[in-house]
């Protein structure tokens, strides 16, 4: 007996014809592979090693004149030179210590003057940082979106299907969450949790981001629960849970999937904002947001390569993911086209 193509296979066949969608899928898959490889420790395990001189420029720009390096300044300037101003430098001792440490470090290992995409303040490879940042940002986006989609779908299913006081309860919760400006809500949760880390960011984004999905899924469930196929399931004795999750859920799953995809993009951007504002991941790891935050001060010095790397990595992923979402929506819901 030949099996008929199911709805997912049919959707895939429609998707296959969308060239742009396919190209975006490939891009997203590459990012996913990078994330997985980085998380597994196959690549960029040494991202935090200080392999180059401070602010080593990209290779195609060529090495900088040695005067630009603060370590060089500290070394070349004679200790007595500053006394000419007649004002004692309050940081003199600290600077001297830093200079000694830097000198000691450079004494033990030779540092590269340039890197393929440049280096940051500590001489870390920007390319490796961007790859490591991809791991953090994409992981946060995916897991937070999955959490938000799970909560939104569960709450929406319960509220839409059960109605009555359960619906009222979730609606009240929804109203509370949406009545606070989003960024304010995120920042206040971050301030309360007050513990930096990837897990915290995921929780913050997931716990505040379910509202949009909730609203859509609730409406879908209200629409579907009065459909005859659900009544028919009741008539054959299917339990409430079975009707909610075996009968209705597959019929609204395309909505969940599109929302999930949409929220990955949204949360990647949110993570960047959070990290930029200093509420995101800790200093021991790197994300695109923390790279942007660091780059803020570098720009004044004309060191543009860190911000360029983070922006480029993010822009490509976000654009590809957004276009993928559109293609997904077209494939899953052909009537909208």
């Amino acid at each position: 007996m030949k099996a008929s193509p199911g709805v997912w296979l049919l959707a895939w066949r429609r998707f296959e014809r969308d060239r742009l969608g396919l190209a975006c899928l490939v891009v997203v898959l590459i990012y996913g592979a990078v994330m997985a490889a980085s998380a597994a420790g196959w690549i960029v395990r040494d991202w935090s090693e200080e392999v180059a001189v401070t602010y080593a420029p990209p290779t195609f720009l060529g090495p900088e004149a040695p005067r630009a390096a603060p370590a060089a300044v500290a070394e070349t300037a004679p200790p007595g030179a500053r006394e000419d101003y007649g004002i004692p430098d309050p940081l003199a001792d600290d600077l001297a210590e830093i200079a000694r440490e830097l000198a000691g470090a450079s004494a033990t290992e030779t540092r590269a003057a340039t890197l393929a995409f440049g280096a940051d303040k500590w001489g870390r490879d920007v390319l490796k940082k961007a790859v490591k940042g991809t791991e953090t940002s994409l992981f946060v986006g995916l897991v937070a979106a999955a959490l938000a989609a799970f909560l939104g779908t569960l709450f929406g299913a319960l509220a839409g299907y059960q109605g009555g006081w359960i619906d009222d309860l979730f609606n009240w919760l929804y109203s509370v969450f949406t009545s606070i400006p989003y960024l304010l809500l995120v920042l206040s949760v971050a301030a309360v949790v007050n513990q930096k880390g990837v897990l915290t960011v995921i929780l913050i984004l997931g716990l505040t981001g379910w509202t949009g999905i909730f609203r859509l899924i609730r409406a879908e469930y209200m629409k579907h629960k009065v459909r005859e196929y659900v009544l028919a399931a009741d008539a054959i004795g299917a339990s409430d849970g079975r009707r909610m999750f075996v009968h209705i859920l597959p019929n609204v799953s395309h909505v969940v999937l599109v929302q999930l995809s949409l929220h990955v993009v949204l949360f990647i951007k949110s993570e960047v904002i959070l990290s930029f504002l200093g509420f995101g991941v800790g200093v021991d790891t790197v994300s695109w947001g923390s790279m942007l935050a660091e780059a803020q001060s570098e720009l004044i010095l004309g060191k543009w390569w860190q911000i360029a790397a983070a922006t480029f990595a993010m822009a490509v992923l976000v654009t590809a993911f957004s276009l993928l979402t559109d293609a997904l929506r077209d494939a899953l819901d052909p009537r909208l086209k």
């Binding site: 007996m1 030949k2 099996a3 008929s4 199911g6 709805v7 459909r227 005859e228 196929y229 009544l231 028919a232 399931a233 009741d234 008539a235 054959i236 004795g237 299917a238 079975r242 009968h247 597959p250 019929n251």
Partner: protein
């Protein structure tokens, strides 16, 4: 001279890159001035596509007209007209009314505004004159209190009133040709009668022509002068209404006429299209209906009531009594027919019996035991014994399940059959019983036609071997020829399993054919219960009499 002549009309639809479907395969017919032509056919016959082609309303992106096609309106080929001229013609000289009045009217504008707009568009009437004209039109289509209706929004009107408004809009510019595409299909039988009379009256009074499109041949006899019978994009037969009804030439026309349940006798089986197309003709024999009075009662409702509550204002509640104390009995192995118009509570009764809605009062006795107060666990085992087949076969099957999953699920829930293999065997057996091929098992519902889907729904109900089957308008959404097949199937199943049916329908002819006892409902109350022959020959209640007089085709029989 004919007003409109269609010549070699052929329309292709592009399904996807590689497939096209020829919906209309080169048809020709004429509409004479001041005459009514009925275009009759089942779904997929191309009748609506023909109407849309005349109006120039075919979807541009995937419909293609064959270059040889011509539609001449008073000597001008409509198919070659530029868009601007066609628009001027459309609405002014040729206008159209559709099946669903609710979706054809714009919900955010008042009725008066919408009629006046049509007048302003085509007659260039100033607003001061358009309004009195709209009022006059509403009076002409027989709307009560036209002055008050002018300011009403579409949702404030009933389906029949909305269709009257649509007709008023369509005749506003005094068209020469009115195309009515299934204008009464969505309406109750008494309203259907009024709309038919209205269209016939307008046609005579305004000296216009009407192209009346319908699937129901019984309506045609009362309204049309000429009949065109279509099937699969081709014209099977055309001629005067007398000729078509008295001496149909084409076997398909004969089959269409025969597969409606006749009112004067009750054949053992209804003839289906294949009987005629194959040339075998209908099978003889009549079926006896009615109760002897000593049959055991399997299901009984006592004072069954249901109220719905609507929130009104901040704290107020409005009660709608959908069912007001219904009491009836279903005899074992027999059929109780339930007839009534929309809002009569007949569907609610079916849902209450199955506990799909919670009753507000009364009792449902299954073999003497009241089901309503039972806790869900105990009621569960009764779900096996009462099953239901819903009206809309497109909505009642889960689109994400294969037919196999649909059939095996109830058996899994109730532990019917021995293991997966046993259930699979039972499902295949049932598919065969309802006349579907075994390879249906792995297919999805969207791969089947409406009639086939309803067979799947029947098979699903049968998986639990119910003793009572509730058929809630189970054949109403289907073509008449498919209806006949399904009615035969239901009858065969009853003969085989001695099931009892609660047969809910608005179609009096079908109920008369199927039922051993008929119950007439109006506004949530049972107005009359009697045997099928008594109720049709000697109705006691005035409402029953009104229903019967509205039956299409009754005049000819």
């Amino acid at each position: 001279m004919s007003l409109l002549s269609v010549r070699d009309l052929a329309v292709d639809f592009r399904i996807d890159e590689s497939t096209t479907l020829r919906a209309v395969k080169g048809i020709s017919f004429d509409i004479a001035e001041r005459s009514t032509v009925a275009l009759v056919g089942e779904s997929g016959s191309g009748k609506s596509v023909t109407a849309l082609a005349i109006m120039g309303l075919l979807p541009r992106e995937n419909a293609r007209l064959h270059p040889a096609s011509r539609i001449d309106y008073l000597g001008r080929n409509l198919l070659g007209l530029p868009g601007r001229e066609l628009r001027a013609l459309r609405g002014a000289e040729i206008s159209m009314i559709f099946q669903e009045p609710m979706s054809s009217l714009n919900p955010v504008f008042t009725v008066g505004f919408q009629i006046a707009e049509a007048l302003k568009q085509h007659r260039a009437l100033p607003a001061s004159q358009a309004r009195p004209r709209a009022l006059q039109l509403l009076g002409e289509v027989g709307l009560a209190e036209p002055q008050a209706r002018l300011g009403a929004y579409p949702f404030q009107l009933s389906g029949g009133e909305q269709q009257r408004v649509m007709i008023a809009m369509a005749i506003a510019c005094e068209p020469k040709l009115l195309i009515a595409d299934e204008p009464t299909t969505a309406l109750d039988v008494t309203v259907q009668r009024q709309i038919l009379e209205l269209i016939a009256g307008l046609q005579a009074r305004r000296r216009m022509s009407v192209l009346f499109i319908t699937h129901d041949l019984s309506l045609v006899g009362e309204i049309a002068d000429q009949v065109v019978v279509m099937r699969d994009g081709e014209i099977r037969e055309q001629g005067s209404v007398e000729k078509i009804f008295a001496a149909p030439q084409d076997p398909y026309t004969r089959a269409l006429l025969a597969c409606r349940p006749p009112l004067d006798r009750r054949p053992q089986r209804l003839p289906v299209i294949d009987d005629f197309m194959g040339g075998t003709g209908p099978k003889p024999g009549e079926r006896k209906r009615g109760l002897r009075g000593d049959e055991p009662i399997i299901l009984e409702a006592r004072g069954l009531a249901k109220s719905f509550y609507f929130r009104e204002g901040l704290f107020g509640k409005r009660e709608l009594k959908a069912v007001k104390g219904a009491s009836f009995k279903v005899a074992k192995g027999k059929t109780l027919g339930v007839v009534g118009e929309s809002g009569s509570g007949k569907t609610t009764v079916g849902l209450l019996l199955m506990r799909l809605h919670k009753a507000s009062g009364g009792a449902v006795l299954f073999e003497g035991r009241d089901l309503l107060p039972l806790p869900p666990k105990a009621a569960y085992s009764y779900k096996r014994r009462i099953q239901i087949v819903f009206q809309n076969p497109y909505a009642s099957l889960n689109p994400r399940f294969t037919v196999g999953q649909i059939l095996m699920e109830p058996m899994q829930i109730h532990g019917v059959g021995s293991g997966e293999a046993g259930r699979r065997a039972l499902s295949l057996e049932l598919l065969d019983k309802v006349g579907l091929a075994a390879d249906s098992f792995a297919k999805y519902p969207h791969e089947f036609s409406g009639g086939q889907r309803q067979r799947i729904a029947i098979a699903r109900a049968l998986t639990l071997r119910p003793e009572v089957l509730i058929c809630d308008e189970s054949v109403s959404a289907l073509d008449v020829s498919v209806q006949a097949q399904l009615l035969n199937l239901l009858q065969d199943l009853q003969d085989e399993y001695a099931m009892s049916y609660l047969f809910i329908s608005h179609d009096l002819a079908v109920v008369r054919y199927m039922a051993d006892q008929v119950m007439v409902m109006k506004d949530g109350e049972i107005v009359e219960i009697a045997g099928p022959d008594e109720i049709y020959s000697d109705p006691k209640h005035p409402y029953t009499r009104l229903l019967l007089s509205s039956m299409p085709g009754r005049a000819q029989q």
